[in-house]
């Protein structure tokens, strides 16, 4: 934008104050009277500058995208896993709806009524699943927005969403401690952490297994989330290694991005801590510490 002003002795500083530092590259001035060529020159300069800025911002964008690629890749993996489960569930539900409808056509009124009720139930279930799925896939852009999150609900939603995976891997999930836990977090990112950890736990156990979840409201203003499985755990000399990007013991099937991304989300994005410990009896414990969101934190 080129500024045309009749202000008396307008110093750059004063205009800057008026428009704010941020728009410093969006205006320029000419002292009146000015010639046509001056206007054209100013405009040209300005356009060039504008283009440069634009190019810079495209470059920035590309860098940002590159940075996001890692987590995008991981997200897609997770989404693929979840959507397989969801599509299986949807297949079953739609089968119920179609089947009930088709089979009830020749039935008595009572039979039809019963079928209609079943169809309604199934439709409701389908829309619940869709809602959950939408919640997790929407606003997953890198602009992570933090909000007050009830971790109890988020964990429950994640477990519901992964019902099918747990079934296929024969994993029983037990919430063994369920203190009300509230944190200031990006719920989608947090859910991504839980999904990754749940998938790792399921992979770690051969045959039937169990995952214990504890949500603990600690007295020191921290919230502790523990996800424990009953697999072989991780050898103590490998406990840092598993956080290295691309480190995997799953061959082709693993990307080795799960844990590093979990750590990044918890420690960088949320200023918490994520640590691995072997349970004294059996299995791996993943401990997540996050600052509890209380009234006193809102001000800061």
């Amino acid at each position: 934008m080129v500024f045309v002003t009749a202000n008396h002795d307008p110093r750059i500083e004063s205009i800057n104050v008026k428009l704010g530092e941020d728009s410093v590259d969006q205006w320029d001035y000419l002292n009146k009277p000015f010639t046509k060529s001056e206007i054209i020159q100013k405009s040209r300069n300005f356009l060039a500058l504008w283009n440069l800025k634009e190019q810079q911002s495209i470059k920035d964008q590309q860098l940002k995208e590159l940075n996001n690629l890692l987590s995008d890749h991981e997200r897609k993996n997770m989404l693929a896993a979840i959507s397989r489960g969801v599509s299986h569930e949807f297949g079953n539900i739609l089968q119920q709806i179609i089947g009930k409808a088709e089979l009830s056509v020749n039935k008595s009124e009572a039979g039809m009524k019963e079928a209609l009720n079943k169809i309604l139930d199934a439709s409701q279930k389908a829309s619940d699943i869709l809602q959950r799925f939408k919640n997790m896939t929407e606003n997953h852009q890198s602009t992570s927005e933090k909000e007050l999150v009830n971790v109890n609900e988020l964990i429950k939603g994640t477990i519901d969403l992964m019902e099918h995976q747990f079934k296929v891997h024969q994993v029983k999930v037990c919430v063994i401690k369920n203190d009300p836990v509230f944190v200031n977090a990006d719920p989608t990112a947090l859910m991504q952490v839980f999904v990754n950890l749940f998938i790792n736990a399921s992979h770690a156990m051969v045959g039937a297994g169990q995952v214990d979840v504890s949500l603990i409201n600690k007295a020191d203003g921290q919230s502790l989330i523990v996800i424990r499985d009953y697999g072989p755990g991780v050898k103590s000399e490998e406990i840092e290694k598993v956080f290295e990007p691309l480190y995997t013991t799953k061959g082709e099937k693993g990307t080795g991005l799960g844990l590093p991304i979990c750590r990044e989300i918890i420690e960088i994005e949320h200023r918490g801590h994520l640590t691995l410990k072997n349970h004294p009896d059996k299995g791996l414990m993943v401990e997540i510490l996050l600052p509890t969101q209380g009234v006193k934190d809102v001000a800061s």
Binding site: A80, S83, H88, E102, K118, K167, V168, H169
Partner: protein
């Protein structure tokens, strides 16, 4: 092309009770009188391996805890007592299950059907794998 055999023993395997019931109801509506069900894949595997159990056709879900549908198929197709018997797999979604379908094909699956399906699709698949001519029956379902 052979005659439609409504006494064909058909084993239906699905750990989702609702879906299983619907498949069974479909089969009954086609006129089949000898439908057997397995509520879990473990139960199904026992039936497949049992010499006492007569099975002419299996309709099995794919995505089940071990033994999976693929395990059932392998066991079924490698068992000499099941020679000539057919196996139709039921999957949820074609695109994401392509690998599974390829796997199943290599183990001799006779057909696959994608959920959700209509009665006529199921009927067509069964008639096809059994080598029955369509005009052979006069039931109206499908």
């Amino acid at each position: 092309m052979s005659q439609v055999d409504l006494l064909l023993p058909i084993l239906v395997v699905d750990d989702d009770a609702m879906v299983r019931d619907i498949v069974i109801e479909y089969l009954n509506s086609f006129g089949f009188q000898n439908v057997i069900e397995a509520k879990t894949s473990v139960e199904a595997l026992k039936m497949i391996q049992s010499h006492q159990q007569n099975i002419g056709l299996v309709l099995s879900d794919w995505d089940m805890p071990t033994p999976t549908g693929l395990d059932l198929l392998k066991s079924f197709k490698s068992n000499s007592i099941r020679q000539g018997a057919k196996f139709i797999m039921i999957t949820s979604q074609k695109s994401v299950e392509r690998i599974k379908i390829a796997q199943a094909a290599s183990f001799g699956v006779d057909a696959y059907i994608v959920k959700p399906f209509r009665a006529h699709t199921l009927k067509e698949k069964i008639w096809n794998v059994m080598g029955w001519t369509k005009g052979d029956d006069n039931s109206k379902a499908g």
